[in-house]
């Protein structure tokens, strides 16, 4: 990561801007300091890859961090080092800033209000969502999973062998739980999801590749 960050600093303009103050032939340092801090002060670049189509374009997240803590985004722009897109980004890639933050009607930079900050629960027959704590949600989900699995689990089944005789084999499956989606997950996430679902005996297991 060290090398990478240094490579990125080359294009942040941070270094260039500080030299630029002298390149004009006269010293503007004091003036500049008096006017405004540079927007790129305390900004760290981090490479990522686009979450939209699968071309695999690289993007750089420029975020303001103070004392190692994240404050807000400056921008998300194409990664000039990534050989696939060479710094370019399409309309979706260029809008990735909005995944987290937007400018509101007053022009203030705020969190995208469509993002959901807390777990939500909708009870059977209810017309509304209720905010809940993570612990409650996850425990309830685990209970539903166990209850549904246990009452529907098929442990063994008699099958016909090639010679016409019958044999009981372990089949370990439930057909009452299904899982769809996951093509937006990272590999590590998709892997443990696949592993978890199969350990539960889930066979209705699908991702967007099918559709």
């Amino acid at each position: 990561m060290e090398v990478t960050r240094r490579q990125f600093l080359k294009v942040t303009g941070a270094a260039a801007a500080s030299f630029g103050l002298l390149d004009l032939g006269f010293d503007m340092t004091a003036t500049a300091a008096a006017v405004k801090e540079l927007r790129i002060k305390d900004v760290t670049p981090t490479p990522t890859v686009c979450p939209y189509c699968a071309s695999g374009c690289g993007l750089v997240v420029y975020a303001e961090k103070k004392d190692g803590k994240f404050v807000k985004l400056l921008s998300v722009v194409g990664d000039p080092d990534n050989p696939i897109n060479e710094g370019a980004a399409c309309s979706k890639g260029s809008a990735m800033f909005n995944l987290r933050e937007i400018y509101d009607e007053k022009g203030e930079q705020v969190i995208n209000p469509k993002r959901v900050p807390k777990p939500l629960y909708r009870a059977a027959g209810s017309e509304k969502w209720e905010e809940k704590e993570w612990d409650w949600m996850l425990d309830e989900i685990a209970k539903r999973v166990k209850e549904t699995r246990d009452k529907s689990f098929i442990h063994k089944e008699k099958i016909k062998l090639a010679d016409g005789s019958e044999q009981e084999i372990i089949v370990n499956r439930t057909e009452k739980i299904a899982s769809v989606g996951g093509s937006g997950l990272d590999n590590e996430e998709a892997y443990i999801l696949s592993k978890m679902m199969r350990s539960l005996g889930v066979v209705y297991l699908e991702t967007q590749a099918r559709i």
Partner: protein, 847 residues
């Protein structure tokens, strides 16, 4: 993709079919325009599409084609290649199964291959096989003259696909079609390569798999597979749909594309599984792994690289169940769920079962079936039968709120469409807010199989969490509920390895622990296995997904994840960038690359010196620890070949190592790999809902396709217009990740349908006016975009209109609009059950 994005710059010609690449993969598209500007390549770009798209606007040649007629289009291309002797002779004779002799019992008549069972709507495939000599070897005629050889049978099969007949089916103007044929088939010259780029316009049909098989035949005949600038390039639509497929979030696979077992004799235990999944093993006698290993060592005929399947499955079982996976319990093979072999468990099947009330709980992870599922009215109705739903997403998308009042509003009152209110929906919904892509870290496999790392650049919003954390927590809590259970059916959970917590960070699981397990390690010392050739089937290695093995290594006392590589050297200048990220398998950037060199293993194809990727070097050792054993495959790319297979070995000219016979399959035989459900050669059939009867044979719809809803098939008397769906650059998939972004919502704020000027006149529809589109399954409202981009087709002498619409709108987000998939049918491809979104019948009127 067999090749990768940057490799497109090496092509002489690109056929873009079933993809609007300029719109949906805009940055990837620039590599094609670069190939066109490169004086060495002077590439031509061809766009074949029912509509004049943004890709067509960039292309050198645009040829219209009615939705759902790709096999007719490509069948005509196969005939043109053969009639005009444009095929790449040395490639075809040596690298494909063109010379193989086919069983005398194989036949084709009136649109059906031999073995069709009308009652079962399925084929018995035993006649789709080769002829064997007494030693069990496939018989061949390298002169390709024997009337029973694949080449001659193929020629006979496509004899009917003459240009006039093809254009009657596709509605393409003859002159344009001929221009496409001339231009693309010129890449059969040994010094030229051409690529085919496709997307969902090809796969989302009842004949989707056979469409791709037709591509394979074209590309093998032209000698375009395994070479830079060639290939069959699936332009995948989601950033990690490749990775999710690799990890087998699909019912029919386990990670790394090995079979998921079902409840049949052939999968009943580990040895049976190995016998079934290892090509050539069915005929051999062995009762345990030790005996099997001896047979592998001696060489199993027609098994190819899949002779190693036992190592992949055992290493996966070892990764999942650790110490509980032992040699004396089949490495816990019995823990794996066994499907009911007679059932389908794919997307459509899930929602059909749910509709019948057979499913209680559903997890939806970053997906949105209420907008993206076919026959969305039905899928939404099916969800009301759930007892509980867990939805993981950044936003409250249409599926998370399927129970709300707006979810049941419809543009047109229609008693046949289901209606509910929140009060009568008894589904509990758990919405888990997920972090955005740059608020977490992990790897994603892009469309060219490059596995790139994305670092965390910002904190998650509010209390939202990385999916990794959420899945890890659910796993931990389920395991806790089962802890201490001694019931044998709970063993798969009790004994599941699930130790991903990070001792230094409570907020995030340890991603490197998961990487180590996924990519393979040695349980004895917990260090990475350096490539899948080193995986074992004795329990001494563990690996969650064998094709990712080699993505981790051990250096300077710690694990290195090669997906994080960011070096930019490009030896050979072909854009391979071997030290940028990592690519499966084993960092090989172009698969089947043995084909980039002549059969002698050394000589580049005539006039094509700079596109030779690999070669046989008799002067160097394959293994530096054995310097006396000379001879190895080398080159710019990682050779897709066993390094020590030299000219003295029979497999020296067998580039397709994942196939038992090592040859590219022009004929899809039942052995050594399983065949497609509809037959060994692609044959044109109409979509489920078609504006015409059969033209080239006597069968209308794919005879092997499962009809889920026989009562819901639209006919031309009520629904005379062909419809299709697609996307725009500014929105992505169901729009959840774009209609919630103000900048993108503003760019394309409204749902619209594109119709030709001719149809608009007929229906008195004005540009910008509201229209209603109806199918037998529902109605939607949209704005009319009257355009020259669609033109009426002349199909078998009759005028047929086609319209197209976005499927990216819904009732949530900043930009809202009606859901196009309320119109599309529940029918899938006979092999993959991928829904036929891309061709259906509708009617349209002014609102």
């Amino acid at each position: 993709m067999t090749n990768h994005m940057i490799d497109l710059k090496n092509t002489n010609c690109a056929l873009i079919m079933g993809s609007n690449m300029a719109e949906n993969h805009p940055i990837g598209m620039k590599w094609l325009t670069r190939a066109r500007l490169d004086p060495k390549r002077k590439a031509k770009i061809i766009s074949v599409d029912p509509r004049f798209t943004r890709t067509s606007a960039i292309a050198d040649i645009y040829c219209p084609m009615r939705s759902g007629t790709d096999i007719a289009f490509l069948g005509g291309m196969i005939k043109y290649i053969l009639d005009n002797n444009l095929w790449h002779k040395d490639y075809v004779v040596n690298y494909t199964n063109a010379a193989f002799l086919v069983s005398n019992a194989f036949d084709f008549k009136d649109g059906l291959f031999s073995g069709y069972d009308e009652a079962k709507k399925a084929y018995k495939t035993d006649t789709w096989d080769f002829q064997y000599d007494s030693s069990g070897k496939i018989m061949e005629d390298p002169t390709l003259q024997n009337p029973r050889c694949v080449f001659q049978l193929m020629k006979k099969h496509y004899e009917r696909y003459d240009i006039d007949t093809v254009c009657k089916i596709t509605g393409s103007p003859k002159g344009k079609y001929l221009e496409v044929l001339k231009t693309f088939c010129a890449t059969g010259a040994p010094d030229k390569t051409g690529c085919i780029n496709y997307a969902m316009g090809i796969t989302q049909h009842t004949v989707g798999s056979q469409n791709i098989k037709a591509f394979a035949i074209v590309q093998l005949l032209l000698g375009n597979i395994g070479r830079p600038g060639g290939g069959i390039n699936a332009l995948r639509g989601e950033n990690n749909v490749q990775g999710a497929t690799d990890m087998a979030l699909l019912y029919h696979n386990l990670p790394g594309y090995i079979d998921s077992p079902s409840n049949i004799d052939a999968y009943k235990d580990l040895i049976s599984y190995i016998r079934k999944t290892t090509p050539g093993a069915a005929k051999l006698n062995f009762t345990n792994l030790a005996e099997f290993r001896e047979l592998v060592k001696a060489g199993i005929p027609y098994s190819g690289w899949k002779a190693n399947t036992s190592k992949w499955i055992v290493s996966m079982l070892k990764a999942w169940w650790g110490n509980a996976a032992k040699p004396d319990n089949d490495f816990a093979y019995h823990y794996l769920p066994k499907r009911n072999d007679t059932k389908n468990y794919s997307h459509i099947a899930i929602f059909e079962a749910m509709y019948k009330g057979e499913i209680d709980g559903l997890f939806i992870n970053g997906s949105n079936p209420v907008v993206g599922g076919p026959n969305a009215n039905k899928e939404q109705d099916a969800m009301t039968k759930l007892k509980w739903l867990v939805s993981l997403d950044l936003w409250l998308n249409e599926s998370a709120e399927f129970w709300s009042y707006p979810a049941w509003e419809r543009a047109v009152k229609n008693d046949k469409v289901p209606h509910h209110t929140p009060k009568d929906i008894q589904t509990e919904v758990f919405f888990l807010p997920a972090a955005a892509v740059y608020e977490k870290e992990g790897t994603a496999a892009q469309t060219g199989r490059w596995v790139q790392y994305r670092w965390k650049g910002a904190d998650p919003v509010g209390e939202s969490k990385a999916d990794l954390w959420i899945i890890n927590e659910i796993g931990k809590r389920v395991k806790k509920l089962y802890a201490g259970s001694t019931r044998p059916e709970d063993e798969p959970i009790v004994n599941l390895t699930w130790d991903y917590d990070n001792p230094h960070d409570k907020e995030e699981p340890d991603i490197m622990k998961i990487a180590n397990e996924l990519c393979g390690f040695t349980p004895a010392d917990n260090k990475p296995v350096e490539g899948f050739a080193k995986l074992m089937d004795d329990g001494s290695t563990a690996c969650g997904c064998w094709i990712y093995c080699g993505c981790t290594t051990w250096k300077d006392g710690k694990m290195v994840y090669k997906a994080q590589n960011r070096k930019k050297d490009d030896p050979g200048g072909l854009g391979l960038f071997p030290n940028w990220a990592w690519c499966w398998p084993v960092n090989r950037r172009i698969i089947y690359n043995r084909c980039s060199v002549q059969p002698d293993g050394v000589t580049p194809w005539p006039g094509d010196d700079d596109r030779r990727l690999v070669y046989w070097d008799p002067t160097k050792p394959a293994d530096t620890t054995k310097p006396d054993v000379l001879g190895t495959w080398a080159g710019f790319d990682v050779p897709d070949f066993i390094k020590t297979t030299g000219p003295d070995k029979p497999a020296f000219k067998d580039p397709f190592i994942m196939r038992g016979d090592g040859k590219g399959a022009l004929f899809g035989s039942q052995m050594p790999a399983s065949s497609y459900k509809e037959g060994p050669f692609p044959e044109h059939y109409e979509p489920l809902e078609s504006p015409t009867g059969p033209i080239i044979n006597k069968v209308v719809v794919n005879p092997a396709a499962k009809i889920w809803e026989p009562e819901k098939i639209g006919k031309t008397d009520q629904y005379p217009i062909v419809a299709t769906t697609y996307r725009v650059t500014e929105h992505w998939q169901t729009g959840a990740l774009t209609r919630n972004l103000p900048w993108l919502a503003e760019l394309v704020p409204d749902m619209f349908v594109e119709i030709s000027e001719e149809l608009a006149r007929e229906k008195s529809i004005e540009n910008g006016g509201e229209v209603i589109i109806s199918t037998i399954r529902g109605d939607i409202k949209a704005l009319a975009c009257v355009t020259k981009r669609f033109k009426p087709f002349l199909i078998n002498g009759k005028t047929v209109h086609q319209i197209g619409m976005l499927w990216q709108f819904g009732f949530k987000g900043y930009a809202t609009g009606d859901i196009a998939n309320r119109l599309t049918p529940h029918i899938g491809d006979a092999n993959s059950m991928t829904p036929e979104y891309k061709a259906f019948l509708c009617d349209i009127r002014r609102a």
